[in-house]
């Protein structure tokens, strides 16, 4: 119990730090992430450049801080699309006519069976590469999972004794939906969404690493990994720190999500 408290505390700290990096990166790293300085290329980590510099002499630390907006932002946006779509489909399935539910659920199950990254690659292949399309692709690819979850939960709540009791008291279907079904369905989602953002950031970085998301010289973490890959043997810091940024962010969000789901259960 105590261990969980400490890890949740650290995770909250990390997430707050990322939020600062997203909203005001200059506070943490005053430099310009894109400023090229050819004389300072491939410098190992030092006081002036805590995470070292890349082939064009740009500070890795500065780039990671400024890249948070791209990586985390894309992760959040993708999750928002996935959750939004999932909620709509889930509610339509859960409360709509049986035929609609049956048809939509089949489609959702088929899509859910495909690995998320494979599906995202499929979408990128159709709509073309780029940061916006990677948001859309990850969003669409994660929607079936959320839709399934929302559908199950909606049906469970709609059939609960407390909704039945409200109807017994003469509460209309619409009022019972707003009062009981909606909050009891959406609340447990918060934990899942926190977990989902961490996952989405990893997938967004994966797409960028494959050259299908953000393009260099954008300081997006996945594309930084891709750029550093060539110099792995000589400038290890070019891949280590962006990689760590992705891992730490994903772990922090996962720890937080699990803590939240325990609290709400």
């Amino acid at each position: 119990m105590r261990a969980l408290g400490v890890s949740a505390f650290v995770a909250t700290g990390v997430v707050l730090l990322i939020l600062v990096a997203v909203s005001a990166p200059a506070l943490l790293a005053p430099g310009d992430p894109l400023a090229v300085s050819p004389t300072e290329g491939f410098l190992a980590p030092s006081l002036a450049h805590p995470f070292g510099t890349d082939e064009s002499g740009r500070g890795i630390y500065t780039r990671i801080v400024h890249g948070a907006r791209a990586s985390a932002g894309i992760g959040v946006a993708a999750t928002a699309i996935g959750v939004g779509l999932g909620i709509v489909i889930g509610f339509v399935c859960g409360l709509g006519p049986r035929a609609v539910d049956a048809a939509l659920t089949r489609v959702v199950e088929v899509l859910y069976a495909l690995p998320t990254l494979v599906m995202a690659l499929l979408f990128v292949a159709v709509i073309g590469p780029g940061p916006t399309s990677s948001i859309l692709a990850i969003g669409l690819a994660t929607a079936p999972g959320y839709a399934r979850m929302v559908r199950t939960r909606v049906r469970q709540v709609a059939r609960s004794d407390y909704v039945a009791y409200a109807r017994h008291e003469g509460v209309t279907r619409t009022a019972a939906f707003g009062r009981h079904v909606l909050p009891n369905t959406l609340w447990p989602l918060i934990a899942m969404v926190t977990l989902g953002i961490g996952q989405a950031i990893v997938w967004v970085s994966a797409l960028s690493f494959l050259g299908l998301g953000a393009e260099p010289p954008s300081p997006e973490w996945g594309s930084m990994l891709n750029a550093g890959r060539v110099y792995l043997s000589t400038a290890w810091w070019m891949t280590l720190f962006p990689g760590l940024a992705i891992i730490v962010t994903a772990i922090a969000l996962t720890v937080l999500g699990r803590r939240l789901s325990k609290g709400s259960a």
């Binding site: 609960s160 004794d161 039945a164 009791y165 017994h168 008291e169 009062r179 009891n184 609340w187």
Partner: protein, 494 residues
């Protein structure tokens, strides 16, 4: 005769809840049933689990005793290995909820035979011993049951299967923790008789319950627990006839006995059901049921589980439509339900205050007044229902029904999940409410003693039909139907 299990000065402290059992001494003798009674939270179950070495598994629990001897062996320093050997063979635990204790995917044969399998009894021997144990547990057609899974058995049969798996290892000490709480009165009586006959066969039985009437039926000795202390101890006859300690007297006084205190003079008809029928698939849940309810009176509906009581309640409140027949509500009364499972009927995200506010209709009293009406502290208004005790939840469910200022209350098993003292409090509350506001009530229960205390008239249900109806005392004095006679005999009412 010396005791099989001898306990002196047993004290158990649990992490977070402090001393749960304090200096308890008791003996379990072969051939005797030792009843342990007390309200919920008195430490009964922790005591039972400690006597089997289960509490000792928790590294943060502290168990001390001046003596804890099983058949001459000192068990105070016994390790888990020794306790496990004891549990597999010489002692056994029968729990309250047989459905949860049995694995839904395993057959009766596998469940009952598990002890033998663990002990590597040869397969050829197992089958006959399983059959023998099932028969001793009172399951007549044992051979045909072997292939069944727990979901296919009735509640009473499951409890017997559980008892069979407890006695198959030749247990000499059987600890039964509330074994009849989940059962119908008629079935519970048979399980009690079974425990008695196991004692007669030479086992020592420790019977834990909050039901003093059950103790009166089968126990030789009684220990009354309160706040972890044994406040009274002695032979059943002595303790129940001449209780020395105030808590024993309070427990005895709480047993529902006798007829309803004041009988109302019934007013106008508020609810009339005519020839109601309800079918689920091919099964007829309610079959041609007719009844009338008048202002200011309570109509009891009794019957075994599955007799259609709850379906009739749902038809009466209009939550379901009858396939045939109709309900009339002269004067358009407000009807409210107090459901069987109050916790499930509360939105888990709402506080008590919000629950009451949402249910208020018209010129109903405030939340504080409603809480006062049902005898609850208004400090509980800001709690979520999950953080209330069973009795408090039941009271909140009643307060919520009252928030609509109803004319009719339909109560589905309102006290069956509560211990006797809480039960008595709720019954008094209902009587009070009726007297003050001339509420009409439909009171559904399988406990005939409770119905006798609560109802002016009673309707007996069997297989969906109302087989007998009339004034409570007349029905109890001269029942015309066999089911009514069985139910009355099972509840000890005459």
């Amino acid at each position: 005769m010396s005791a099989l299990l001898e306990v002196r000065g047993l004290t158990v402290s649990l992490a977070g809840s402090g001393e749960v059992v304090s200096a308890v001494s008791l003996d379990a003798r072969a051939g005797e049933v030792h009843g342990i009674v007390g309200e919920s939270g008195a430490g009964k179950s922790v005591l039972a689990r400690t006597l089997l070495g289960l509490t000792q598994q928790d590294p943060r629990a502290r168990v001390t005793a001046t003596a804890l001897t099983f058949d001459g062996r000192d068990m105070r320093r016994a390790g888990q290995r020794a306790w496990r050997a004891l549990r597999g063979g010489e002692s056994a635990l029968v729990l309250q909820d047989a459905l949860q204790s049995l694995d839904p995917l395993r057959t009766v044969q596998a469940e009952v035979g598990e002890t033998l399998a663990v002990r590597r009894t040869p397969r050829s021997e197992r089958r006959t011993r399983i059959l023998d144990a099932l028969e001793r547990a009172g399951l007549a057609d044992a051979a045909s049951l072997l292939g069944h899974r727990s979901g296919e058995l009735s509640g009473g049969m499951r409890q017997r299967v559980l008892i069979a798996s407890a006695i198959i290892g030749g247990a000499r000490l059987i600890i039964a923790d509330e074994p009849t709480t989940a059962l119908d009165a008629t079935v519970a009586v048979r399980v009690l008789e079974l425990l008695r006959s196991l004692a007669a066969d030479g086992a020592a039985v420790i019977f834990i319950t909050h039901d003093l009437d059950a103790v009166r039926r089968i126990a030789d000795r009684v220990t009354v627990l309160e706040g972890g202390r044994a406040v009274e101890q002695g032979t059943a006859h002595q303790v129940l006839r001449a209780p020395a300690h105030p808590s024993t007297r309070a427990l005895l006084a709480a047993i529902p006995t006798g007829p309803k205190r004041e009988t109302a003079s019934p007013g106008d008809v508020v609810l009339e059901a005519e020839h109601l029928s309800r079918r689920y698939g091919s099964a007829l849940a309610v079959d041609d049921a007719s009844l009338t309810l008048r202002a200011g009176e309570t109509l009891g509906i009794v019957g075994e589980s599955g007799s259609g009581k709850s379906t009739l309640a749902r038809l009466l409140i209009g939550a379901e439509r009858p396939d045939e027949g109709a309900t009339a509500r002269p004067g358009d009364p407000t009807v409210r339900l107090v459901p069987q499972d109050p916790l499930g009927s509360f939105d888990p995200r709402h506080s008590v205050r919000r629950i009451l506010d949402l249910s208020r209709r018209g010129a109903a009293p405030t939340s504080e007044e409603l809480m006062a009406k049902v005898g609850l502290d208004s400090a509980l208004l800001d709690r979520r229902p999950a953080r209330l005790s069973g009795g408090q939840r039941q009271r909140v469910a009643i307060a919520r029904a009252l928030a609509a200022d109803p004319h009719v209350l339909v109560l589905d098993e309102p006290v069956s999940a509560l211990d006797v003292t809480t039960q008595a409090g709720i019954l008094d509350l209902l009587g009070d409410l009726q007297r003050r506001s001339r509420l009409a009530m439909v009171f559904i229960s399988h406990d005939l003693a409770v119905v006798r205390r609560a109802a002016d008239r009673v309707a007996v249900m069997q297989a969906g039909r109302i087989v007998e109806t009339g004034p409570t005392e007349r029905i109890y004095a001269s029942p015309a139907q066999q089911v009514t006679r069985d139910l009355i005999a099972a509840s000890g009412q005459r």
